[in-house]
């Protein structure tokens, strides 16, 4: 039995007789645990998976959260299914000379989110969601990102891609660390085309990222890519006990097992393009595997020719790539980390091909 990073008080049994009745009154706020969120129905008698409607898994049928328990997305303020196909193109204007200017507003916000049914996590977010908005531009556009720090902690935004030293979003250079209540504007040209990411770069770095300060940044090639059903999958996880050793939940777009309960609907034969970004902290690698299919893989998306035709890719921290595939058959097909511990700790989902 081991409690991680929790303090022990009132260890002596001798004081129990007096302190137990007094404590609830003597310490207002001694019960900071919020009541179970709406939508969570613990105590449902489960057992094996039969007769549970859409609920997946259980026993030999695979991993699952407690039967019937789901996350309250409305209370979180974002829905992982919406994040999937939500791209932020910014406010578009044309500069003299015809160049496209894209202006974005990002703010940092401390926000408690429910990362697994009934499990609260004190996240640090961009725009109140994890992952932050998927910023999207075309190569050569001018990016102007206004960043307001509404968090109680200092933060920055560090973009992957070409830019000047002043725009790097690291402490001590340019605007440097943006204090609580402060703001700055990052400006740079969208290049090179490909799939990138942005994240906070304040120390301790692993924690500032792991708390939720990251998002995808897509730079489309000028000629564009073929028409497709596009979606972004940010592979992440949450180290809920803050032991900085590994994570307790794993997912794409934050909510573990979400697409087991809500499969991603796709059309048979249609080109599917997945923007896959690994922002996982504490675990050195992550991976993606899709069942009954193979995909063209474009590492970092910086070439227009695929490197590989495969069904499994492994990504290190900060690594990303573009996947293109079509489903031949109708039905439900799993996708998950082939680092199977992550899969069984939440990083698994379903495509529903219609």
């Amino acid at each position: 039995m081991r409690a991680i990073s929790r303090r022990r008080l009132l260890g002596g049994a001798a004081v129990a007789g007096v302190t137990v009745p007094v404590l609830p009154y003597a310490l207002p706020g001694a019960h900071p645990n919020p009541p179970a969120a709406a939508g969570v129905s613990p105590g449902q008698t489960g057992g094996h998976s039969s007769g549970r409607g859409s609920q997946h898994g259980g026993g030999h049928e695979g991993p699952t959260f407690q039967a019937g328990a789901v996350v309250d997305h409305a209370a979180n303020g974002f829905h992982p299914t919406d994040i999937l196909r939500d791209f932020d193109y910014g406010t578009v204007t044309r500069l003299p000379g015809g160049r496209v200017l894209r202006e974005y507003e990002l703010f940092a916000q401390d926000k408690e989110i429910e990362v697994a049914p009934g499990v609260r996590y004190p996240a640090w977010t961009y725009n109140g969601r994890v992952p932050g908005p998927t910023l999207r531009a075309t190569e050569g556009d001018l990016m102007r990102v206004r960043f307001v720090n509404g968090s109680e902690h200092p933060h920055t935004i560090h973009f992957h891609g070409f830019h000047t030293a002043e725009m790097d979003g690291v402490p001590g250079i340019g605007a440097g660390t943006i204090p609580a209540g402060g703001e700055t504007t990052y400006e740079f040209e969208a290049e090179p085309f490909g799939l990138h990411l942005y994240h906070c770069h304040v120390g301790p770095l692993a924690e500032h990222i792991a708390r939720g300060l990251y998002g995808a940044y897509i730079c489309d090639p000028k000629p564009g890519r073929p028409e497709a059903d596009e979606m972004v999958m940010v592979m992440n996880g949450f180290n809920t006990n803050f032991d900085a050793a590994s994570n307790q939940t794993y997912a794409i777009n934050t909510i573990a097992f979400h697409h087991m309960n809500e499969p991603i609907e796709v059309a048979r034969g249609e080109l599917l393009r997945i923007y896959l970004v690994n922002t996982l902290e504490y675990d050195p690698i992550n991976s993606f595997h899709v069942h009954a299919n193979f995909f063209d893989y474009y590492p970092t998306g910086t070439r227009l020719e695929p490197r590989d035709l495969t069904d499994t890719v492994v990504l290190g921290q900060g690594e990303r790539g573009i996947l293109e595939l079509r489903f031949k058959h109708r039905g439900d097909f799993m996708f998950h980390a082939h680092k199977t511990e992550f899969a069984e700790l939440g990083w698994m989902g379903m495509f529903r091909v219609v």
């Binding site: 049994a13 026993g59 499990v119």
Partner: protein
């Protein structure tokens, strides 16, 4: 000596009375003197309860959750955990993963307050012989881990199982102790000097058992929840046993003196030795039973023979005080054997049913206290004509007693 000290206390009380007689309080009845402070205490507690608490700030920092797993029962495809809240704040287990895979589970309560328990039934196809690491994730994201070193189905508590445990307890408890008592006729023929050395050997033997029990108790205490105390319970149990046996011994002696019935002294000593050893064997049964229940113990000839050799010496210790007295009735000897040996059966049954470590620590403590008390009782029997307890022959006896138990203990792997 007991009578002397009692008189001493009375005298002290007598001298104290005149001092208080001069104060005005002496006219106040005694019950009123008790009532006044009690009323004040109750009033103060009520005041603290209603208003006092609000004068303090809420504790800084997050809730202090702590959870202890008290019982693990493994059934095919199921893991049943009994957990107790042992921190100051309620603990709400929201999700559970076993060996890095989330599992479905049912729970008997939403959350546990301090000292409350609940049962979690996990739906997990565990494999026989594999280790299990169960992680409970609470509403605040804290994790509590419980390790099962080797997964083995918990024995069903049916009559066959209890029969097996009873047999086991008989093999390692009653039979060897009784066998050891067969040395009584030999002892009776030995010279008094040899009896003293034998007593010294018994003291060494019991000393070994006391240390062994203490170490066993601290080990079990380390694995307990701690909310009801860990090692403290060992000392509480030991003190309780020691003092109770002292009181019992004095009461028996007083009665005997009043009845002017000499001759039963050595038998009472033998009873005390048997009680002490019996309490020790209860602890031994606990260890055997719990090890068997979690599959850590292979029952076999070697184990049984090892314990038999080990515990035969205990039988010898019981009859040693009877060496130079009138031969006791056979039924009395049989009774001594049962008192010393039968608790092993009870221990094995309790230990093999999933037991509470804190109760076990307390009971082991009782065994330790009883043995220490027996040692104190035996020391006078070691004394030579000059009244010394430690002389070369007795020291050799003590060391031999320790060595015998150490060597035979190796046979059963500690």
């Amino acid at each position: 000596m007991a009578t002397d000290s009692a008189t001493g206390r009375e005298m002290a009380a007598d001298t104290a009375t005149p001092a208080t007689a001069t104060t005005p309080l002496r006219r106040v009845p005694g019950w009123a003197l008790a009532l006044v402070p009690l009323t004040v205490i109750v009033a103060a507690l009520v005041a603290l309860l209603t208003v006092g608490g609000n004068t303090l700030d809420a504790r800084t920092g997050p809730a202090v959750e702590d959870l202890a797993v008290e019982q693990t029962v493994l059934r095919p495809g199921r893991i049943e955990l009994t957990v107790r809240g042992v921190g100051p704040d309620p603990v709400n287990v929201q999700q559970v993963f076993v060996n890095d895979a989330y599992v479905d589970f049912t729970e008997s309560a939403d959350a546990v307050d301090r000292l409350e328990t609940q049962t979690l039934v996990l739906d997990y196809p565990w494999q026989e012989g594999s280790p299990l690491l169960i992680t409970m994730l609470t509403s605040s994201g804290a994790t509590f881990e419980h390790e099962v070193e080797v997964a083995v189905a918990t024995p069903e508590a049916d009559s066959g199982f209890y029969g097996l445990m009873a047999l086991l307890g008989t093999y390692v408890g009653i039979i060897p102790v009784t066998l050891g008592m067969l040395f009584l006729p030999l002892l009776r023929r030995a010279r008094e000097q040899w009896t003293r050395i034998l007593m010294a050997g018994t003291v060494g033997l019991l000393g070994f058992l006391a240390v062994d029990g203490f170490l066993e108790g601290t080990e079990v205490a380390a694995g307990s929840a701690g909310v009801f105390g860990g090692v403290e319970l060992l000392f509480v149990g030991a003190a309780l046993a020691y003092l109770s046996l002292v009181a019992l011994g004095r009461w028996l002696r007083d009665r005997r003196e009043r009845a002017a019935k000499a001759g039963s002294g050595p038998f009472q000593l033998a009873v005390l030795v048997a009680v002490g050893i019996g309490l020790h064997n209860f602890g031994e049964g606990l260890a055997i039973g719990s090890a068997y229940a979690i599959g850590e113990l292979a029952l076999g000839t070697f184990l049984v023979v090892g314990f038999a050799l080990h515990n035969t010496t205990e039988g010898l210790a019981i009859v040693a005080p009877l060496a130079h007295r009138a031969p006791p009735a056979l039924w009395r000897l049989a009774l001594l054997g049962l008192v010393a040996g039968a608790p092993a059966i009870l221990g094995a049954v309790v230990g093999a049913s999933a037991y509470n470590p804190e109760v076990a620590v307390f009971l082991i403590g009782v065994g330790v206290g009883a043995i220490v008390q027996v040692i104190v009782q035996l020391v006078p029997a070691m004394r030579d004509q000059t009244g010394r307890a430690l002389y070369p022959a007795s020291v050799a006896g003590i060391l031999t007693g320790v060595a015998i138990l150490y060597a035979t203990g190796l046979l059963v792997g500690g």
